[in-house]
C-alpha cells in the first residue's frame, strides 16, 4: 500500500501553474473563472456567462452560505471581492482572514487567519477588498501595511513584504493587481497624512521593482502644485484597484484625497496627484498622463474608483475611453490613450462646483469653512469605492449612487502628528460611514441609494433603481443583461440591465459592502456576494 501512495504522491513533483498571466489577459474568454478584482483587467465587471437571464432570475436560490468563524470586529466590514479559479473560491474575511473554499458547496479547504499588528491604523474600517492571483500564488495586502504572497493550494506564506509603516498610518486595503510578473499595490492612509505611492513588487520574490510617488517629491513633476512643505503629508492614498490595457500597455489607477482632508488652506495649489487618475507604464512606473478630477480637494473626494476601460463609438468613431463616476458627483469620459477630457456630467446633486470647464476642471463655488458649509454630495460622495460595471451589450455604465446627500464640511487647523488622524476638519452627515444601525428611522429625503445606469455618450441617467437606504455594494453585469447589486438594507438584487426592473431579491440580513462575482463550475452559473459577516452564493434551481 505504501508504495502505491508514494508513487501517486510523486506525481506532485510536476505541478503546472494554476493561473498564468495569459489567463488574466484573456479572462473575458474564460467567464467560468473570476481571476482579478474586476473579473477582467479592463475593470468592466462584465461577465460573459448567460445562464441566468432576466426571464429565469426569479428562479435563483440559495446554494450555500459561509459565515465568518472569527469574531467580527465592531468596525470591520466584509468588502472583499471573491476570486474563483477552477472551482476554488478565495475570499478575505475582515480584516485579513483568507479562506479557500469549494465554489460549489461552500466547504472550506483552508484558512489563513492573518492577524494585523496592533499598531495598524484603519481610518474607516478594518477592511480588505480582496486578493490577486498569479500562478499558484495569492497576494493580499494587510491592514498593518504588508503585502503577503500565499500558496493558493494550502495557504502557506511564500513571502511577506512591507509596503508602508503601520505606525505612521500606512495600511494596505486594496486588492492588488497583477500585471505580467508584478504585483501592484499602494498604501491607504489619506486620513493619517501619509505621502502616497503606487508600487510594483516582484510576484516571485516580493522585491519592490518600482514606485511612483502620488505626492511628487522635490524635483519630480507636479511637485510645484504643493506649497508650504505640505507635500510631506499630502495623502494621495491607494485603496481601490486599478485597471490595465494590454494593447496600450497602460496601467490606470485612481488616487485618494489630499491631506489634511478638509483644510485646503495649508496646502495651496492643485495638490497633484490627489483626486486624480493616472496612466502609467507598468514596466517602469513612468507616468504617461494624468487627469485631476478635484484639484485642491477640500471635501475628502478621493478618486479611488475603478477606472473602467471601454471601446465605444464617440462622435461617430471608435474610441478607446475610460469611464469614471467620481465621488465628487460628476461622471467623466476620458480618452484613455491621451487623457483627453471628453465629457463630464453630474449624476447626483452637486453644489460644490458650478459645472466643469472645457478641460474638465471644476468651476469651484463651495469650500470647507471653519463655520461649516453645506455641500452636495456629502463627503461619502455621489459614489465611492463600490465598483461600477459596464456592459458592451447594453452600452450602459452601472454605478452604485448615494442620491442627493449632503454634509456640513468644517475646516480646522490641525498639526501633523505621525500616526494620528490628520483631517483638518470633518464632515457631519446623515448616514453613518461604517456599519448601518439595526434600524433605519431617517427621514427619507436625507438619504437614499440607487443603482444608476448611465449612457456614457451623454452622461444621461437611463434608469435608476432606488433604495430607501444607501448602498456600499459593487455592481456586476452579465452578457444576459442581468445586473447584480445589493445595499445596506440587506437585500441582494437582480435587475434588468436594460430597464432597471427588479427581477429577484434575497434578504441576506446584513449590509452588502462588496462586489458580486459570478462563475461557473461544471456548466452551472453561480453568483456570490458577501453581506454582513457571511458570504452567500446563489444559482438557478
Amino acid at each position: 500500500m505504501r508504495r502505491t501512495i508514494l508513487s501517486l504522491l510523486a506525481l506532485a513533483a510536476t505541478l503546472a501553474a494554476q493561473t498564468p498571466f495569459d489567463r488574466l489577459v484573456n479572462a473575458d474568454k474564460d467567464p467560468a473563472n473570476w481571476l482579478t478584482y474586476s473579473g477582467t483587467l479592463d475593470g468592466q465587471r462584465y461577465s460573459r456567462l448567460t445562464q441566468v437571464t432576466p426571464a429565469n432570475a426569479k428562479d435563483l436560490e440559495l446554494k450555500w452560505v459561509l459565515q465568518t468563524r472569527a469574531p467580527a470586529e465592531p468596525n470591520s466590514k466584509y468588502e472583499a471581492t471573491s476570486l474563483v479559479s477552477d472551482g476554488v473560491l478565495y475570499t478575505v474575511q475582515p480584516p485579513n482572514v483568507v479562506v479557500a473554499l469549494d465554489a460549489v458547496n461552500g466547504k472550506i479547504f483552508w484558512t489563513y487567519p492573518y492577524n494585523p499588528a496592533p499598531q495598524a491604523r484603519a481610518c474607516c474600517g478594518r477592511v480588505n477588498r480582496g486578493l490577486a492571483i498569479l500562478g499558484n500564488t495569492l497576494f493580499m495586502g494587510t491592514l498593518d501595511g504588508n503585502l503577503i504572497a500565499l500558496d493558493a493550494r494550502d495557504g502557506h506564506v511564500i513571502w511577506n513584504t512591507q509596503v508602508g509603516r503601520p505606525e505612521a498610518g500606512y495600511s494596505v486595503t486594496v486588492a492588488p493587481l497583477v500585471v505580467k510578473d508584478k504585483v501592484i499595490v499602494g498604501p491607504a492612509g489619506g486620513e493619517y497624512g501619509i505621502s502616497g505611492y503606487l508600487a510594483a513588487y516582484s510576484a516571485e520574490t516580493g522585491k519592490e521593482l518600482w514606485r511612483f510617488n502620488t505626492i511628487p517629491k522635490p524635483g519630480e513633476p507636479g511637485h510645484e502644485t504643493w506649497e508650504n512643505d505640505a507635500w510631506k503629508h499630502g495623502g494621495g492614498s491607494i485603496w481601490t484597484t486599478g485597471s490595465y490595457d494590454p494593447a496600450l500597455n497602460l496601467l490606470y489607477w485612481g488616487i485618494g484625497n489630499a491631506s489634511p482632508d478638509w483644510n485646503g488652506d495649508v496646502r495651496p495649489g492643485d495638490n497633484l496627484y490627489t483626486s486624480s487618475v493616472l496612466a502609467l507604464d507598468p514596466d517602469t512606473g513612468n507616468l504617461k498622463w494624468h487627469f485631476q478630477f478635484t484639484p485642491h480637494d477640500e471635501f475628502d473626494f478621493d478618486a479611488t474608483q475603478v477606472p473602467v476601460l471601454a471601446d465605444i463609438t464617440w462622435a461617430g468613431k471608435p474610441r478607446k475611453v475610460m469611464l469614471f463616476a467620481n465621488r465628487n458627483g460628476y461622471f467623466y469620459v476620458l480618452d484613455r490613450q491621451t487623457g483627453e477630457f471628453l465629457l463630464g456630467k453630474p449624476f447626483v446633486k452637486v453644489t460644490w462646483a458650478n459645472g466643469l470647464d472645457a478641460k474638465g476642471r471644476p468651476i469651484r463655488v463651495g469650500h470647507s469653512t471653519p463655520e461649516g458649509s453645506l455641500i452636495y454630495p456629502e463627503n461619502q460622495g455621489g459614489t465611492n469605492w463600490y465598483n461600477p460595471a459596464y456592459s458592451p451589450r447594453t452600452g450602459l455604465f452601472y454605478i452604485p449612487s448615494w442620491l442627493d446627500t449632503h454634509s456640513i464640511n468644517t475646516s480646522r487647523a490641525e498639526p501633523y502628528r505621525e500616526g494620528m488622524p490628520f483631517n483638518g476638519g470633518s464632515a457631519t452627515h446623515e448616514v453613518p460611514a461604517l456599519r448601518p444601525g439595526p434600524t433605519n428611522k431617517r427621514l427619507p429625503e436625507l438619504a437614499s441609494g440607487a443603482i444608476q445606469a448611465l449612457d456614457p455618450k451623454t452622461g444621461a441617467v437611463k434608469w435608476q433603481f432606488k433604495m430607501m437606504d444607501v448602498t456600499d455594494s459593487g455592481v456586476l453585469v452579465t452578457a444576459s443583461d442581468v445586473v447584480f447589486a445589493g445595499g445596506r438594507e440587506g437585500y441582494f438584487y437582480a435587475l434588468d440591465a436594460r430597464t432597471g426592473a427588479p427581477l429577484w431579491k434575497a434578504m441576506v440580513g446584513g449590509a452588502v459592502s462588496a462586489g458580486p462575482t459570478t462563475y461557473a463550475v461544471d456548466g452551472k452559473q453561480y453568483i456570490s456576494i458577501p453581506a454582513g459577516n457571511a458570504i452567500f452564493t446563489f444559482g438557478l434551481r
Binding site: C123, S407, N423, S426, P444, L446
Partner: protein, 258 residues
C-alpha cells in the same frame, strides 16, 4: 406614494449624523460636541446618566478626572476600560473617542435650564402628568399609560433638564428618530397611525396606535408620511409657570430602570 411637508433641519443633521472623522482636542466645534453627545447618549448615559453624575464619586461634568490627566488618558480609558471597575472597554475608534472627550469637556459649561421658573415639587408634577396634562394617554411611566408616545419611565435618567424643558415648550423642535410619528393611508382608504420602528425600500415597520407591531407594505399604501410635527401638544400655555416647574421636576426625578 407621497412625501409632503418635509424639510431639512441642519440642527437635526448635526444630532443624527454619525462621525466619520474627528478632531484631536484642537479647535473643537459645536458639531463635534453634538456628535460626541450622540455617542454619549448611545453608550455612556445608561451608567453615567445624562449629567454624568450617576456613578458615585464620578462626576464627568466636573472636567476633572481621577485617572486621567490628558485627553489621551481619557481616550485610553474610553477604549480600554478601567480594569477592576465597572467601566468596560469600548470599541471606539480614536476619532469616536475624541468626540466623546469633546463632549465630556463641554458638559461642565452647557446650560442646565433655559427658563427661570419657580422651584418645582415632584409630587404635584406627578398629579399634573396623570390628570391635567393627560400625558399617560400617549406616554408610559412604569406600569401606567400606553406605548404610542415615548416611554417616560426613565426620562430623567436619559435626558438633561434642558432637553425635557424643550420637549414641553416646543415639542416639534426636535423629534428624536426613535419617536418619529408615521401616518399612512391604505389603498382602500383605511388610515393607520403609529410610531416608526424601521423602514426599507419595500416596507415600514411600525408600532401602531393599537399597540401592535406590524409591517406596512408600501405597495399597498396610497400614501404615507413621517411627521415632522410632533403630535404632542405644546404645554407652554397649558401649564402655569409653577405647574411647568412641578412637571419638569417630576420628570427629572424619573430614573426608572437601568
Amino acid at each position: 406614494m407621497v412625501l409632503k411637508r418635509l424639510h431639512v433641519s441642519i440642527w437635526a443633521l448635526a444630532l443624527f449624523g454619525l462621525p466619520l472623522f474627528a478632531q484631536e482636542g484642537h479647535g473643537v466645534t459645536p458639531a463635534d460636541i453634538q456628535r460626541g453627545l450622540l455617542i454619549y447618549t448611545s453608550s455612556c448615559i445608561n451608567c453615567h446618566g445624562p449629567d454624568g453624575d450617576l456613578i458615585s464619586g464620578v462626576t464627568l461634568a466636573s472636567g476633572r478626572f481621577r485617572r486621567a490627566q490628558s485627553d489621551n488618558d481619557l481616550i485610553q480609558i474610553i477604549q480600554k476600560g478601567l480594569p477592576g471597575t465597572a467601566m468596560p472597554p469600548g470599541a471606539y475608534t480614536d476619532d469616536q473617542a475624541s468626540l466623546l472627550v469633546a463632549y465630556l469637556r463641554s458638559m461642565s459649561t452647557s446650560a442646565k435650564s433655559t427658563r427661570n421658573g419657580p422651584p418645582g415639587e415632584p409630587a404635584r408634577g406627578k398629579a399634573l402628568v396623570e390628570s391635567k396634562g393627560q400625558c399617560l394617554n400617549c406616554h408610559r411611566i412604569g406600569n401606567l399609560g400606553t406605548v404610542t408616545g415615548p416611554d417616560l419611565t426613565s426620562i430623567g435618567g436619559i435626558r438633561r433638564l434642558a432637553e425635557i424643558e424643550t420637549s414641553l415648550l416646543d415639542p416639534s423642535a426636535e423629534i428624536r428618530p426613535e419617536n418619529r410619528p408615521v401616518r399612512a393611508t391604505v389603498k382602500d382608504g383605511t388610515k393607520i397611525a403609529g410610531t416608526l420602528m424601521n423602514q426599507d425600500t419595500y416596507t415600514l415597520q411600525i408600532l401602531d396606535s393599537k399597540g401592535k407591531l406590524r409591517s406596512l407594505y408600501k405597495a399597498n399604501l396610497r400614501d404615507y408620511e413621517l411627521l415632522k410635527i410632533s403630535p404632542m401638544p405644546n404645554f407652554k400655555d397649558k401649564f402655569t409657570a409653577q405647574e411647568m416647574s412641578d412637571v419638569i421636576s417630576y420628570l427629572v426625578s424619573l430614573k426608572g430602570l437601568r
